[in-house]
Structure formats: C-alpha cells, structure tokens
C-alpha cells in the first residue's frame, strides 16, 4: 500500500482495491470511523451499541460493495451513510425483539418508517444532508429548533439543554416532541 497514491484515490476506488487486498479498507475505516461513531452515538446514546452498529456497517459496506458499484451517480459517502442508517434500524429492531421497548431510536422519526430504504431519510442522505437538515431547522421556530439542534448535533443530555434554555425537563420533553413532529412534517414537504 502506497500512502502517497492512497491520498489521491477516491473512496469508490479504495473500495474496489479493498476487494483484492482487504488492507486498503483501513483507509475508509480511518476516514469514516469517527463520523459514523458520532452519528451512531447520536442515535443510540450508548457507546457500546454505537460501536456494534459502526462495525456492522463497515462489514456490510465491504460485503455489499458490488451493489454500490452498480448504482451510478451516487457518492460513496451518501451510500455509506444510508447503510449506517439501515444498520442502526435493523439493530434497533433486533433489540426491540430481544429486550422489549427500546428507546434509543427516535420513535417520531422511525416508528412510522418500518423500511428506511423507502423513507425520507434515504433521500436526505443521498443528497446534501446537512444543508437539507439546516434548511428544515431554519424554517422552524427558534424555541423548537434550538433544543433539537443541541440534542442531535451537540449530543447534550436533556438536563444540560434544560439548564441552557432555562426551562424544566418536562417543558423540554414537550418541546422536543413538538419539534420532532414538526421536523418530520417539514421534511416530508421538503422531499
């Protein structure tokens, strides 16, 4: 593996090379492990669960590399995030079966979408996800978008957000519920 060449290679090319020599996959793992872990942690709020999801995601990416090669016009990054979201959802369903009620996945965003592949999230992830989310948050009133932003992007606990916003936990929970519902509605309009 030549480090200088690797810097100029696209993710798709690295994935292709990794099919012949799995050590190349370390470049993709190095590049995406932390953002994936952040996102998975944002969903599960549990490091161990997040690590399991990230590990499963990378293995799925490697195993199903041929499916990506067949989908022209889609960037590796958006496809990889789609795999991550689907893996998180599968993990959630498994946990729900074994442990009963699991709260880590946001019910407002996920319960109505038994198949993420056909949900709005896939479309968001295929496009410019950050810009779409920012646009939706911008349309929302400040008192609803701010807690949502802090909770999901800054990964803060309810207690911290309540302190920052100077409101009680129960008020925050109500606002979060309303914010998620509004976010979902706006997202559907956006897509």
């Amino acid at each position: 593996m030549n480090d200088n060449n690797n810097e100029t290679l696209k993710d798709e090319e690295i994935l292709l090379l990794a099919q012949e020599d799995p050590a190349y996959f370390s470049i993709l793992v190095d590049k995406y492990k932390e953002p994936f872990l952040r996102m998975a942690r944002g969903i599960t709020h549990n490091l161990e669960e997040a690590e399991d999801i990230v590990q499963e995601t990378f293995i799925r990416i490697y195993r199903h590399a041929s499916r990506f090669e067949k989908q022209e016009g889609i960037q590796f990054k958006s496809w990889a995030y789609k795999v991550l979201m689907n893996t998180a959802f599968t993990h959630y369903q498994k946990l729900k079966k074994t442990k009963g009620n699991v709260e880590y996945l946001d019910p407002v965003l996920y319960e109505d979408n038994p198949n993420l592949a056909s949900s709005g999230f896939e479309k968001i992830l295929q496009g410019d996800s950050k810009a779409t989310i920012e646009r939706i948050l911008h349309k929302m009133p400040d008192h609803l978008s701010t807690p949502l932003r802090i909770y999901y992007f800054e990964d803060k606990a309810y207690e911290d957000i309540a302190k920052t916003e100077k409101i009680s936990i129960s008020t925050l929970k109500m606002r979060m519920f309303r914010a998620k519902r509004l976010f979902k509605k706006l997202m559907e309009e956006e897509l």
Binding site: Q19, D21, K33, Q55, Y62
Partner: protein
C-alpha cells in the same frame, strides 16, 4: 485517551472481520476449487504414470549429477504421451495458482497485521 483506545480497538476489530470476509468470500472457494481439481488431476495422472518408477529413476539420476536431473525431467516430459503432458501442465498450473493464492493470504494477513498495529 480511553476514547482513542476504543476507536483503535474498534478499527482493529473491523479490519480483522473484513479480512475474514475477504478470505471466506474470495479466497477459500478458489483454494477449495483448485485443490479439488488438483486432487482429481493428480489421481488421474497417477493412474497412467508409474510414479514410483519415475521417482526411483529421478533419485538415481540426481545422485549422479544435479544437472542431469533437469535433463531427465525434460526428456521424460517430451517422451510421455500427449494426455500425460496435458495432465502434467494442468497439475503444474493449478499448483502455481494455489501457491499464488496461499501467497495472497499470507501477504494480506501481514498487511492487515501492519495496519492494525498501534502507531508509536
């Protein structure tokens, strides 16, 4: 610090699993296929070639002079029937492919081992 260690351990876990997927999906079926054909070709060849005599003659000739061993093998190959020649070529080619695949497993194992080693 602990977070960094966790991330490194996670990376190692992922890469070893990926190595295993690569081995099981790409290399193992190939090695099994090559071994099956090689065994079959070897069995068929053994039926038509007196391996014991060839080995015996080879040892006698090698004891005289190492170079004559090379000439003897070439001569024996030229003098054998067309089917035997084809069989020998198949066995040698498959042997070479098998060695190449085993080499790939070893090289990939070493590279994966290198990339999963903690950097100083």
């Amino acid at each position: 610090m602990i977070m960094d260690m966790n991330i490194t351990l996670l990376k190692n876990r992922i890469l070893w699993k990926v190595y295993l997927v690569w081995f099981v999906k790409k290399i193992l079926p190939l090695i099994i296929f090559e071994l099956l054909i090689l065994t079959f070709a070897g069995y068929v060849l053994a039926k038509y070639i007196f391996v014991e005599r060839v080995v015996g003659n080879t040892l006698i000739i090698a004891a005289n002079h190492p170079w004559s061993l090379f000439y003897y093998l070439i001569y024996a190959f030229i003098k054998t029937s067309f089917l035997n020649k084809a069989g020998i070529i198949v066995v040698l080619s498959l042997g070479a492919l098998l060695l190449r695949d085993i080499g790939r497993v070893i090289v990939s194992y070493r590279t994966t081992n290198q990339v999963t080693k903690p950097k100083p």
